[in-house]
Symmetry: C2
Subunit: 375 residues, 2 copies
C-alpha cells in the first residue's frame, strides 16, 4: 500500500460509494468521523464509538499539541495506543482551531505564533511543524495547514488568504514523509467565491494529494450557499480521491452533500448535542429537557439496534437531563453517534442499490413528518 | 418465597458467606451496593455496573420523591424499568438525606416536613409514607424511616433519638405490605453508646425484620470506634438475617466489617472518587491528577478483568483528568466499581475457603506495600 488508497465501488448520480484503506484499517465511504478533540470522543468510550459503526475518528492537533503534547503522545506509542482506538484516525492541522479559538495569535507568511490558553506558554505552527506533529501523533490521514478564511469576507481578502493557504499546502506536501497507509489531504479554500474555489482546487491538483477537503464552509453561509459551493467545486476534484467536507454537519447537510459527491465528514454536532440534551431522530431533533417528555415511556428510536436508543424511555432521559446526570450526556451522545452512523449506512446502501434519490426523498419526508419539537 | 430470603452458606470466624434472594434476583454476600442516588449510578450505564459484578444497587428515596417523583416512577413501571436495572434494588427511607441535606425541615413525633431544594414545594415523610414511597418505587429491600442521630452527641439526645427511631420502626413494619421477594430492614441506632445500641437491637428484634442495618456510623467517629460499635452490636442480631452497615466505606472498612460479621454495604466512595480523579488500587488510593502519572504507561491494574483498569494508561487517565473530560470520570468510576466488587469477591472466596484471616493480612500488606501516593 502506498499512502492511503481509495477505491470507488459504485456511483449513483454524483453520490459515491467507496473504500478508503489506511494503515489502521478500512473506512467505508460516505463516512462520518466522530470528533475526538482531546483524544476522547467526549462522554463515550472507544468501544462504544466503534459499536455505533464508526470506522474512523478525528482528533485535533491544536488541543493535543497543547495538552498532553505531541512528543508525549509519541513517547506513549502514538494516539491510537494513547486513546485506545485501534482504527483509523484523521487529524486536522491545528490551523482552524488556532485561528478560531485562540485570540493570542499572530500570523505571518511563515506560520502562526500563539500562546497556550492553558498555561500561556508560546507555540508556533508552520506548514512543516503541523505535518510533523501529525506524524508524531500517528495520524492515518494528515491535513495541510491552512488559513481559515473568515465569513463574510471581501473577495480580495478571501483571495489573498486562499493563495497563502495554497503556498502552505505546497510546503505541507514537501514536509510530509510518505509512509504506507498514511495520507495527506489538501484543503480547497476560497470562501463563497466560485472562481477562487476553482483556482484553489487547481493549485492543489498541481501539487497532488491523497484526498481533497473542502474547508471554510459551515461557518454561517447557510445550507444553500454551501451546496452551491460544493456544486461548483466538486466537479473540479479528481474522481479517484476522497472528498472531505470539513466540520459538516446536520443530518440534512450530510444527505445533500453526499448527493453532490462528498465522501467524508466530521462534526461535533452529535457529541456536543448529546451533552446539551439534544437528540437526533428520524423525526427530527428532540430537546429531551422539554416537559412534554417527562412521562413519555417511548425510547428515542427502538428501530435502532443501539442500547441508548432502545432501552431507555424518553421520560428517563428527560429525568437525567433535568438532574444534570452524566449518564444523560453518555446516552444521548451514544444515541446520536449511532443515529449518524446509521444515516451513513443507509446512504451507502442506497448508493449501492442505485436508489439514492429515493432515499433522499424518504429522508426529507421523515424529517418533515416525525414528532419534532414544537417550533 | 416469603419476603426476602437469606441463607448462610459458610462462616469463618465472624465472617459470613450467604445468599440473599429477592424478587429481582440473588445477591451473594458479603455484598457491596453501588449507589444510584437519582436512579443512576453516576457516570456509568447499568450494563457497566452489572459487568463489574454488582448484583444489587441502592437508590435514594429522598432524591427520587423530589425528582422525578415516586408516582411518576410507579406509572412508568417502577424503578427497575425506569432506570433499566433488572437486578435487586435496595432503597433507603429518605430519612438520612432529609436530615443531612435539607435545611428546611421540621421533625416531630409523627414525621418530618421539608421543602424541596429543587423547587421549594412542600413534602412530608412519615414512617408510613416512606414505606409506601419505596413500594411505589418497587424496591426489593425497603428501609424503615429513622432519625439520623448526629455525631458527636450527648447520651441523652442519642437515647431520645434512638427511641423515636424505634417507634418509627414499629410503624414502618405495620405499614409495610408483605410481598414475595420484598423485604423490610430495621436500623439499629444509638450512636457510639453500646447500651443504646443494645436496646435498639432488642427493640428491632421484638418487632421482627427481614434484615438489620447498622445506621449512624461512618459519620466522623473513626474506624476504631466504628469497629467497637460493630463488635458490641452484631452479636445481638439474629444469625439468620442479613446485616447491613449503611454508608460504609473505604476498602479497609469493608474488610474489617466483614471480619466482624457484616453482610452488606453501600457507599458513594467508588463513584464519587471516580468523579474526583481518585482510583482505588491494590496499592492503595491513587490521585490520577498527580503529575507523577503524566508519562506512566502502566494501566491502573492489569490484573483486573476490567477494560477501565486494563486498557488505558495512567498517562491517558491523567490527561483526561487534567482536561476535565467526562471519559475520565467514566473510566475511574468503572474501575473503582470493579475494584470494590473484586474485593467483595475475594472476601467471599476467602470465607468459603476458611482463610479470611489470611486474606485480611494479605489485604493489609497490599495496602501498605503498593505504589501509594506520597503522603
Amino acid at each position: 500500500m502506498n499512502a492511503t488508497d481509495f477505491r470507488l465501488t459504485a456511483t449513483d448520480g454524483e453520490a459515491r460509494l467507496g473504500r478508503l484503506e489506511t494503515a489502521h484499517g478500512t473506512v467505508d465511504t460516505p463516512a462520518f468521523m466522530p470528533v475526538g478533540t482531546a483524544a476522547t470522543v467526549k462522554a463515550t468510550t472507544p468501544e462504544t464509538v466503534a459499536s455505533t459503526g464508526a470506522q474512523i475518528i478525528l482528533a485535533n492537533t491544536y488541543h493535543l499539541m497543547l495538552r498532553p503534547g505531541a512528543e508525549r503522545i509519541e513517547r506513549l506509542g502514538g494516539l491510537h495506543a494513547f486513546m485506545n482506538w485501534p482504527g483509523p484516525i484523521l487529524t486536522d492541522s491545528g490551523g482552524f482551531q488556532v485561528m478560531s479559538l485562540n485570540t493570542l495569535r499572530k500570523i505571518d507568511e511563515d506560520g502562526v505564533d500563539f500562546r497556550s490558553h492553558i498555561d500561556g506558554s508560546r507555540y508556533r505552527l508552520t506548514p512543516e511543524s503541523a505535518v510533523d506533529i501529525q506524524r508524531m501523533l500517528g495520524a492515518d490521514v494528515s491535513m495541510v495547514l491552512d488559513e481559515c478564511t473568515p465569513f463574510p469576507v471581501d473577495r480580495a481578502i478571501a483571495a489573498e488568504s486562499m493563495q497563502r493557504s495554497m503556498r502552505w499546502a505546497e510546503r505541507s506536501k514537501k514536509a510530509f514523509v510518505e509512509r504506507p497507509g498514511h495520507g495527506l489531504f489538501g484543503i480547497v479554500q476560497g470562501g463563497v467565491y466560485e472562481d477562487l474555489r476553482s483556482a484553489s482546487a487547481q493549485a492543489l491538483l498541481t501539487i497532488g494529494f491523497d484526498g481533497y477537503a473542502i474547508g471554510g464552509l459551515a461557518v454561517g453561509e447557510g445550507q444553500e450557499t454551501m451546496f452551491d459551493v460544493l456544486e461548483a467545486t466538486i466537479p473540479l476534484l479528481p474522481i479517484d480521491r476522497p472528498r472531505y467536507l470539513m466540520g459538516v454537519g446536520k443530518p440534512g447537510d450530510l444527505v445533500g452533500a453526499v448527493a453532490r459527491g462528498v465522501d467524508m465528514f466530521d462534526c461535533v454536532l452529535p457529541t456536543r448535542s448529546g451533552r446539551t440534551d439534544q437528540a437526533f431522530t428520524r423525526g427530527g431533533p428532540v430537546n429531551i429537557r422539554n416537559a412534554r417528555h417527562a412521562d413519555d415511556p417511548r425510547p428515542l428510536d427502538e428501530s435502532l439496534d443501539c442500547p441508548a436508543s432502545r432501552d431507555y424511555s424518553r421520560a428517563y432521559l428527560h429525568h437525567l437531563a433535568r438532574s444534570r446526570e452524566i449518564l444523560g450526556a453518555m446516552l444521548l451522545t451514544w444515541h446520536n453517534l449511532y443515529y449518524y452512523q446509521d444515516l451513513m449506512a443507509r446512504m451507502r446502501r442506497a448508493i449501492g442499490e442505485g436508489r439514492f434519490r429515493a432515499f433522499a426523498a424518504e429522508f426529507a419526508a421523515e424529517q418533515a413528518n416525525g414528532d419534532m419539537e414544537p417550533r
